[in-house]
């Protein structure tokens, strides 16, 4: 019982949220707010007729490409900014601005330059996901415990060893939390691009079901994207646990 406590708590909190959703739908708080059960039924229908998979095949393209680009370039750029002393003032402001910019207002500009295809959508995902990854990586690298670097140097580490065996593992918790935030922002970006640029994939389901007042389908689509994001974030967490086993239990020097 005690061993399954975290799982039980998760189930309990899910039960409370879905229960509240069901009640709010039954009241109803709004004509446009379906019950939980109706939404799940719509999700099941879309799953069985395959339309949800067709939609995701479309939505996942800009998402996966954008998240991969953001992760690779974001961590690379963050490392570079964190390691070099002079370039922080040049790059950090760009990403802080990117993070704060109202993206929806920039989308017409992107469409004008890159058209309404995949490129624009990938851009939106990157703009959402990249800044937090870059900024987190840079600050994590800059805050590597000095004593660990000194220790490695005293045991004759080369610069490459210091980077791969000290700086990266020490920065990994903050890099991973940046990745998690970046990925969730990327999900938002992917859906935003489908709502704002061209309705395709899951964005199309949301737009179309709203236009024909099929609210259960609309909420089912929204629910599915949240579910996917949660699953993905959990996988990311597992990956971190496997890669850096001792890291999630605090620093030895504390």
């Amino acid at each position: 019982m005690l061993k399954h406590r975290p799982l039980m708590l998760k189930l309990l909190s899910a039960l409370i949220v879905f229960g509240a959703w069901e009640i709010a739908g039954r009241v109803p708080v709004s004509y446009a707010f379906p019950t939980f059960i109706d939404s799940m039924a719509a999700l099941a229908r879309m799953t069985f007729d395959g339309s949800i998979f067709v939609a995701y095949a479309e939505t996942l393209q800009p998402l996966v490409v954008g998240v991969l680009i953001s992760a690779v370039f974001g961590i690379g750029l963050g490392l570079w900014i964190g390691l070099s002393k002079g370039f922080e003032w040049l790059f950090s402001p760009i990403f802080i601005v990117m993070q704060a910019a109202p993206l929806a207002a920039l989308i017409p500009l992107l469409v004008m330059v890159y058209g309404i295809g995949l490129t624009s959508k990938v851009f939106v995902v990157c703009i959402m996901a990249m800044p937090v990854i870059v900024l987190n990586t840079a600050s994590a690298v800059r805050n590597t415990p000095a004593s660990l670097k000194e220790m490695a140097t005293s045991f004759l580490a080369h610069d490459r060893d210091v980077l791969l065996k000290i700086i990266l593992p020490a920065a990994s918790p903050v890099i991973f939390s940046g990745l998690r935030l970046g990925v969730s922002a990327g999900f938002i970006g992917a859906i935003l691009s489908e709502l704002k640029i061209t309705p395709t994939g899951v964005g199309d389901i949301i737009t179309y079901s709203r236009s024909i007042a099929d609210y259960p389908s609309m909420y089912a689509a929204i629910f599915s994207i949240i579910l996917l994001a949660v699953i993905f974030l959990n996988l990311l967490e597992k990956l971190e646990d496997i890669l850096f086993e001792g890291n999630n239990r605090g620093y030895a020097a504390d």
């Binding site: 005293s154 045991f155 086993e245 001792g246 890291n247 605090g250 020097a253 504390d254």
Partner: protein
Amino acid sequence: MQPIKPDTRQAVTDSAVSVRNVSKVYGDVQALKDLSLEFPRGELTSLLGPSGCGKTTLLKIIAGLLPATSGEIEVNGVKVTGPGPDRSFVFQDFALLPWASVIRNVAFGLELRGVAKSEREAIAEKYIREVGLAGFEKKFPHQLSGGMRQRVGLARALSVNAQVLLLDEPFSAVDEQTRRKFQEDLLELVKNEKKTFIFVTHSIEEAVYVSDQIAILLPRPSRVSEIIRPSSFRDKSVDNIRRDPEYLDIVDRIWASLRSYVE
């Protein structure tokens, strides 16, 4: 009781480490000024002084982690220009990799030298046993007590088989009882390992207890004020050292000379 004089025997003993006219300036602060000191081979020398006297700075210059502003250091007759395989360091804050198991931490120095995994783990296991941590190889640092963590740090320093061990207040972050056990183990280690130990501490009792030679450093700017070589109790059993009249006398005399420098 004879007055304690700077020792003259050191000129004839073989030095593992020689510090000659070393100065260190940080900005406009003179941390070390024209400091010279010999460290006899196979012995433990303590650097003792009030805080801010530059003892850790001196240790890090010997380690090659800090450059000296002027002067030079020789280890086994070779001039120090940076960290080298002839010296290994034990850190005050342990400096263990939190993401690595005990065995990987101990073998880390060898890993950086490119020793094959099976070989370096065999060596690490030997030293883990030697410092009394057998059975903890797969644990992570956060699962160990402070004293055990420093044993890992010590095993890591021993496993690279450096001739000179540099210990920077290694026991200051562990509790008093663990500390006493450490001090006894250190005496054992000095006897068995035939290495040269340079030991920074701010504890007078600790310095007198473990040292073959004690260098008293006085601050601002730092210089060696005297060198003390306890003679009579070094060969006694560890249980009798703290009651030895010479031990008590040296502790008192060091305190008398340091007292005025302590704020």
